[in-house]
């Protein structure tokens, strides 16, 4: 898209700002106890203000109310949406975005404000406009625009009961991973698979068998980790290995908070551990509160299955008495 084309496109979308999506429309049904009961049962909300008439009559309000989060429910179109939504300004805006490649859609924020509660037999009237459209943004999903609808709710007396702002990102989808296959069980993510090349496959294979090995130079006996073909001391390429007892000491540590990586359990402490044999290994400290981990802490490792596919050494406080 040239700069001129982009300007023309942005003029076209910005012309939607302020346009009405739906004129003030009374809900097909008044606020009613049947829909409130169904909602509270499913949400698991036992608030007596919604469903306990006897309590509500004696409460400050003097009557029951509808759950405030139902404000948008009363004006919903209904089952007809299964076969498509009616044409309106929002649908026109969406199809304009789609035509220019912004086919991705993601609801990002929804904010409701409540000014007045409603009770059974009230009627909720809703109107909606397109309130604003952002500049073109670069997002994690791809380049796109945020647009926000503003819905205003009034009751049958014309009193304003609340508003809803709903923000949607329309974006040009970037290459996404293939859709997961339809399976009956949810796939639990696993850790990133270990890279198994010519020089380190043997180490991971031993780990799968429950052992942590340390490479040893056959010529000068120097230990080294991670695995590599040549001794850094004497340049010999002859080597064998010894098995670590996994007695270690924490040299350095950090706690990972954000972003949470799929497949890892949190809290997640990563540490550099000096093994009794003298080499260092990066691993996790588990089995204690993250705040208890400290430099100099004595730890004991154990090779464990950390997810469906992965065996890894995990280090526990030595004081816990765990055995490798």
């Amino acid at each position: 898209m040239t700069a001129n084309e982009l300007n023309a496109f942005e003029d076209e979308i910005n012309a939607f700002v302020g346009r009405e999506v739906c004129p003030p429309t009374p809900a097909k049904d008044d606020v009613n106890t049947a829909m409130i009961r169904q909602w509270t049962e499913i949400i698991g909300d036992t608030n007596p203000a919604y469903t306990n008439e006897a309590w509500a009559a004696k409460s400050t309000r003097g009557k029951s109310i509808a759950p405030p989060a139902m404000m948008y429910v009363w004006g919903q179109e209904g089952f007809a949406v299964t076969t498509g939504r009616p044409a309106d300004a929002q649908a026109d805006l969406v199809s304009l975005f789609n035509k220019h490649g912004y086919t991705g859609v993601l609801g990002t924020n929804v904010k409701q404000e409540y000014f007045k509660e409603v009770s059974p037999n009230d009627n909720v009237v809703m109107e909606m406009v397109i309130d604003n459209i952002s500049e073109r943004k670069t997002t994690g999903r791809g380049p796109g625009y945020f647009f926000e609808t503003l819905s205003t709710f009034t009751n049958q007396h014309g009193e304003k009961i609340g508003t809803q702002r709903f923000k949607v990102l329309k974006f040009i989808p970037q290459e996404q991973p293939a859709a997961p296959a339809a399976e009956d069980t949810l796939q639990v993510p696993t850790r990133i698979a270990s890279p198994r090349g010519h020089d380190n496959k043997w180490w991971w294979d031993a780990c799968d068998a429950g052992k942590v090995l340390i490479q040893r130079c056959k010529s000068c006996q120097t230990l080294r980790h991670p695995p590599r073909p040549m001794c850094g001391e004497c340049q010999s390429m002859e080597w064998d290995s010894i098995e670590s007892t996994l007695d270690g000491e924490v040299l350095s540590h950090t706690e990972l908070h954000h972003p949470k990586i799929p497949g890892y359990q949190y809290p997640l402490v990563c540490a550099v551990i000096r093994l009794g044999e003298g080499t260092n290994i990066v691993s996790n400290v588990v089995g204690c509160d993250p705040s208890a981990v400290h430099i100099g802490m004595q730890v004991k490792g154990k090779v464990e299955q950390v997810d469906e596919k992965t065996m890894l050494p995990q280090f526990y406080p030595a004081s816990s008495g765990i055995r490798s």
Binding site: T46, N47, P48, A69, L186, P189
Partner: protein, 143 residues
């Protein structure tokens, strides 16, 4: 909430934690939540439609998430609390088989108006943050 007690604004301080709440995300909750909020978008009740969008199964609609967030806040505050606002940032979908844990803490107390603000996080055990935001509640000044 069997005793239907309502917290008074005077008893609340910034930093107070709300009791955490675990929600089992079942197909029943996703589908019935969508229908109870009159949200008949096929992705919330028809697995084939949901899979076509790249997700493994039907997923929770926003109105159900909004409902769970207000429930979480008023379970703690008690029934005389008046919900003033509900502000959600949306994250990863809630899909059957997951468990969403809701946690929250008080971030503001205005003794003049009795309005308290509670920050809420709903995180599922597979994909992390499902929703994050705040609820404002007007409380009686005294319990």
């Amino acid at each position: 909430m069997s005793d239907h007690k309502t917290l008074g604004c005077a008893e609340i301080s910034v930093g107070d934690k709300l009791p955490s709440l675990d929600i089992d995300i079942t197909t029943g909750l996703v589908v019935c939540g969508a229908l109870a909020t009159r949200d008949f978008e096929p992705v919330h009740h028809d697995k084939t439609s949901a899979v076509a969008t790249g997700l493994p199964d039907v997923f929770m609609n926003i109105l159900t998430s909004q409902g769970l967030m207000t429930r979480f806040a008023t379970d703690w505050s008690g029934p005389e609390a008046v919900v003033k606002s509900l502000d959600l940032r949306l994250g990863a979908p809630n899909v059957p088989g997951m468990v969403m844990t809701m946690t929250g803490a008080v971030t503001a107390v205005d003794p003049g108006t009795g309005v308290v603000e509670v920050e809420v996080l709903g995180e599922n055990n597979i994909w992390g943050m499902h929703m994050q935001g705040s609820v404002e509640l007007a409380l009686p000044k005294e319990a």
